[in-house]
Amino acid sequence: MMISARGLRKSYGGIEAVKGIDVEVSAGEAFGFLGPNGAGKSSTMRMIAAVSPVDAGSLEILGMDPATHGSEIRARLGVCPQEDSLDNELSVMENLVVYGRYFGLSRAEASSRAKEQLAFVQLTERAKSRVEDLSGGMKRRLSVARSLINQPDVLLLDEPTTGLDPQARHQLWDRLFRLKQQGVTLVLTTHYMDEAEQLCDRLVIMDNGVIVAAGSPLELIAAHSTREVTELRFGVGDNESMAEKVADLADRVEVLPDRLLLYTDDGEQASQAVHDRELHPVSSLVRRATLEDVFLRLTGRTLVD
């Protein structure tokens, strides 16, 4: 077991960010923490990174207690923080070597590993560029390269693709997928459902400091949503009244300002039934249920600020 937490709690200034969670991550797994902002994901990650002490509960990382073996644990973790903490005035290469030295690598070893990692994240040509001049996607890839300099057993990624454009996201996912294939345990936080579906073998959805659901993406969809969703648009103002007329056609009907969502195992059949009742939506669309449906069902649609 790489990470094992029981009843984990953390407060900041009287506000309880993590309210007693149990998590286990085994070797080689890609594990995700999903949740809206303020759910307690980052606080949990900081405890797992052995930088923030545990208030209550127990936590073991790589079989060690972070309260007594923080330094030893951190030596075997890779950490890719949410805000890039790269040194903007140094070159790409210098950033990696300086960081490698923190792990006690010799200069020669640090620079040979740096070259390896730059090739891995496809930044070899930029080795001499100042970090300041890199794009957001390149900086994030450099952060990943830096977090791999100590050849970690577990890689922690806090919202790895937030703020990146689609090309940069896919490029990063591809690199993370390769790491997973090499047997590196990945632990990531995200609020992107597609990211979780792409990368995670198993995940937990956190809300308000507690875990509200756990499982593989498919298990979560099966447990908390129907197989398919039919989206009906009746025009603004009509959706509410139409909801009653189709309520019996689905397991659950959700009314949004611009559309109705019919949760059902057979979306086509529901769509047909709507037409048979001579109700004529402006548009109708059948799609598979996604993790996003699960997420919104469990954590609500209200904005958390």
Partner: protein
């Protein structure tokens, strides 16, 4: 395997938050790993220190020579225990420069490493421990003080204000100690400050009064008793007295030991609070 079950079981730490450091937590072990980082910092900033020699030159010309001739002509030789005014203020300027360099290096640069470029946080994510991070920061400040004060001492010597080579070297070591004895508590304070706005207060209520009433420019016995006693409580006064003993070449053993002890105590206390301050800030 996974659930949101709430448990109130407490770990060894007992109370939430950061525990008090043990003796082992206070001792740096991996400082050499940070040398490469601090070399990059030095490479980026050394140009700013090229003109270091101008400061002592300006001070000595204006105060040592200009004001000094006026003092020496009017006060008579016994006013400053037989010293010329130049010889009297030279060690004072050396010591206050060490203090100013120390405070300067322990305010904005330290705040920046927490708040703006966050380098302490990336260090804290590695096997490095808080004592290593604090130790390397303080060692860098000491290095800065050593460079600045060496140049300063060279100018003082050129003005004939240093009694002997040995005395000069001893004074240099004293002011480096004096510097870190200021830097450690200042780092401890900066680590606890949310915003850099408070530095103005630190400079106005701390640095400037200590600079003026340190005994660098006139004997503190000239001050009202209360202020003179307050001045004796500041580490800078001890540093000025001690470095003056060495540049002038008249060392009073017991007094010197007292001053040294005071500075070491301040340094050790500052170190402790710097480590606890960093521990708290880095755990956030």
């Amino acid at each position: 395997m996974i659930s949101g079950v709430k448990s109130m079981r407490r770990t060894t730490q007992g109370v939430p938050g950061v525990r008090r450091p043990s003796l082992a937590d206070l001792v740096p072990r991996m400082m050499p790993r940070l040398v490469d980082y601090w070399v990059t910092v030095y490479r980026r900033t050394w140009r700013g220190s090229v003109t270091t020699f101008l400061m002592p030159f300006l001070y000595l010309t204006a105060m040592g020579v200009g004001l000094g001739s006026f003092v020496d002509d009017n006060a008579g030789p016994r006013a400053l225990d037989g010293l010329t005014y130049l010889a009297f203020i030279a060690p004072g300027l050396l010591a206050t420069t060490a203090m100013q360099t120390a405070i300067g290096e322990s305010t904005y640069p330290v705040m920046g490493a927490f708040k703006w470029h966050r380098v302490y946080f990336s260090m804290a994510a590695t096997p490095l421990r808080v004592a290593d991070i604090v130790g390397a920061q303080l060692a860098f400040v000491a290095f800065r003080i050593l460079l600045t004060c060496t140049v300063f001492l060279g100018v003082l010597a050129a003005y004939g204000a240093v009694g002997s080579v040995g005395g000069g070297i001893a004074a240099l070591l004293v002011v480096v100690l004096l510097g870190v004895a200021h830097a450690a508590p200042m780092i401890a304070i900066t680590a606890r400050m949310k915003s850099e706005a408070g530095f103005a207060l630190v400079f106005r209520l701390g640095l400037i009064p200590m600079f003026l009433f340190s005994g660098a420019f006139f004997p503190i016995t000239q001050l009202p008793d209360v202020i003179a006693w307050l001045a004796r409580l500041t580490p800078i006064w001890h540093g000025v007295e001690l470095s003056r003993m060495f540049t002038v070449g008249s060392v009073d053993g017991w007094a010197a030991l007292g001053h040294l002890t005071y500075l070491v105590v301040v340094l050790v206390a500052g170190w402790y609070f710097a480590v606890t301050g960093f521990t708290r800030r880095l755990a956030q």
